[in-house]
């Protein structure tokens, strides 16, 4: 019995069906079409092609961010509602960790980066140690050039992933040194990785409340930040 996995954190739209040890199906598109229109039709097609009935789903894993606020909300609204209506569990999977999970290379630092606008990125650092994914640095918002310069000071090779790695390809090549741009099939989010890490989290006993699960925004809304600046509130 498979779970459904969803990643809509960026312009990539990816949905997958996977059992604990087998990837049944995955649709991953980078066509810049809106998630709002296409996500549900993709899920329907995926189930249809894999000949899996919706009633056979035993859970839903969803990429919870950081990433595009609207993209995350479309993914989470869909995932939570499917879990609620089909009465199956939902598990929220951190987006950057799922990306690193899809690139199991020991001896290197994995640096997924997603656009946080105005020259900033959401970034976390990971490594594989004895077959386990370890987080070296939790997700932060950081200025992209400074982040890349800092990574180039590391002794180990660094695999840079995510939409911002593609966006700043020239900068990465210019710095050179230990920085490696991930290959196209690894550089983007894949729902199959969300499913894989989702199973791992479930095995570790992680359970999320379908009613309360929210995106991992990292950032507050601009209006909140501005209001606090104006009113001198330190938070």
């Amino acid at each position: 019995m498979p779970i459904l996995a969803i990643d809509t954190a960026t312009l990539v739209s990816s949905v997958a069906l996977a059992t604990v040890d087998n990837l049944l199906a995955e649709i991953t598109l980078q066509t810049k079409k809106t998630h709002s229109e296409l996500l549900m039709p993709h899920i329907v097609k995926l189930l249809d092609m894999a000949q899996v009935a919706k009633s056979d789903l035993k859970g839903v894993a969803v990429s919870i961010g950081p990433g595009s606020f609207t993209g995350l909300r479309i993914g989470l609204s869909t995932a939570k509602t499917l879990a609620y209506a089909l009465q199956v569990p939902v598990v929220g999977v951190p987006t950057l960790a799922a990306m690193a999970y899809g690139c199991p290379v020991p001896g290197v630092i994995l640096a997924p980066m997603l656009d946080a606008q105005k020259g900033n990125v959401y970034q976390a650092l990971f490594e594989w140690h004895q077959g386990e994914l370890k987080e070296i640095q939790p997700a932060i918002v950081t200025e992209v050039t400074a982040a890349l310069e800092s990574l180039s000071q590391q002794e180990r090779p660094v695999i840079v992933m995510g939409e911002s790695a593609v966006m700043y390809r020239e900068k990465i090549e210019q710095i050179g040194k230990n920085l490696i741009l991930a290959a196209p099939h690894v550089v983007i989010q894949r729902a199959s990785s969300v499913a894989g890490l989702g199973y791992k989290l479930i095995k570790q006993g992680v359970r999320h409340d379908v009613m309360g699960l929210e995106p991992l925004y990292i950032r507050r809304s601009e209006a909140e930040v501005l209001w606090e600046c104006r009113h001198g509130v330190a938070k």
Partner: protein
């Protein structure tokens, strides 16, 4: 025999979601007219300190609230998902990020439960709130839709046939209320405070302009009026003159109401309909209800308006609209997208 059959017939239940602005709402309505539940989670306190709705914060609140609100709506109605015949959802007009939460949830619900999906126009929903408040009301009628984002006159010819006679060229009536209230340092949203203050003032104290009041012109404009009120307040402040805030509120409100009422009556006369219904958030304004009610009575026209709870954004009105679309098979498919500038009466290609 037929009677018995009717009594045992199961009612047609519509479940609807409304997330177009700052209220997260879900409702269950029976046979399009009977509200079984109407759960509204308001975000007004959250947005108050910003003096208006912050779209990103509204979207964040919607995703927090939407499933609990749906669950409560089903439980309060004493039904389960499998009892529902159609799922309605507001897909426009409104804030795009806010609409997307409702649309995404409704599509997933429709697919998971195998229930047809109906995309509902928020403004048509406001008009249909009157069918919930007045079980005997039937088209045709003239509808005046007034809210924070809209001011429109609509000839409702049938349950699924509308003709837009005119709308605002600039600010909506409710928007003018909010802006004037903000300058008068009244809390957000300002409409109810102006209404209360106006009741204590003289509506003829200050002659504020009535725009586009030409005969048989059904377009509105409130930005000139708004500027006139702001200029009046600013120049008084500069000259350090004391102003009577109740008179300002009353004179401003009278200018808005005069235009709304005279155009509604003209529109009804031109279209040859004997009923006028009021809809939208500003339909809760007591001054507007009183004046329009009085003028309708003078003209021999029946006048309807919804209860205050049905004037605010709520999902019961969306469920009512969805019922009548369900009756004619007007469904959306799973490609349904949010349309932030959807026009009233427009049937956007949703398939």
């Amino acid at each position: 025999m037929e009677n018995t059959q009717q009594e045992t017939r199961k009612p047609c239940l519509t479940l609807a979601l409304e997330t177009s602005c700052d209220e997260t709402s879900a409702a269950v309505v029976a046979d399009g007219r009977i509200v079984l539940s109407n759960i509204i989670s308001s975000q007004i306190p959250v947005h108050q300190k910003y003096g208006g709705v912050v779209p990103e914060i509204a979207s964040r609140k919607h995703i927090e609230n939407v499933l609990p609100v749906i669950d409560q709506a089903l439980k309060a109605a004493g039904v389960v998902l499998t009892d529902i015949s159609a799922i309605g959802v507001t897909y426009g007009p409104g804030l795009v990020g806010a609409l997307l939460v409702g649309v995404s949830v409704a599509k997933a619900l429709s697919f998971a439960a195998g229930i047809p999906l109906v995309g509902v126009n928020h403004l048509e929903g406001h008009v249909f709130a009157n069918f919930l408040a007045h079980p005997k009301l039937e088209p045709p009628f003239m509808a005046l839709v007034v809210s924070g984002g809209h001011t429109s006159l609509v000839h409702v010819k049938g349950y699924n046939e509308f003709a837009l006679l005119g709308q605002t060229r600039d600010d909506a009536a409710g928007e003018a209320f909010d802006k004037v209230a903000r300058v008068m340092k009244l809390p957000y949203p300002g409409g109810p405070y102006i209404d209360a203050l106006a009741a204590k003032g003289n509506p003829e104290a200050i002659a504020f302009p009535r725009a586009l009041s030409g005969k048989n012109s059904f377009e509105f404009s409130f930005s000139g009026l708004k500027s006139a009120v702001l200029n009046y307040l600013n120049s008084a402040a500069q000259k350090q003159e004391e102003i009577n805030t109740a008179d300002v509120a009353a004179s401003f409100q009278a200018a808005v109401i005069d235009v709304l009422v005279s155009k509604s009556l003209q529109a009804a006369a031109v279209s040859g309909v004997g009923q006028i219904v009021l809809a939208g958030g500003v339909a809760a304004n007591s001054g507007l209800k009183a004046k329009l009610g009085y003028e309708c009575q003078q003209a021999g026209i029946s006048f309807y308006y919804p209860d205050p709870i049905l004037c605010t954004d709520n999902a019961a009105m969306i469920a009512c609209r969805a019922y009548y679309q369900h009756q004619v098979g007007d469904y959306a498919d799973l490609h349904l997208n949010a349309k932030p500038s959807l026009k009233l009466g427009a049937r956007e290609a949703v398939t």
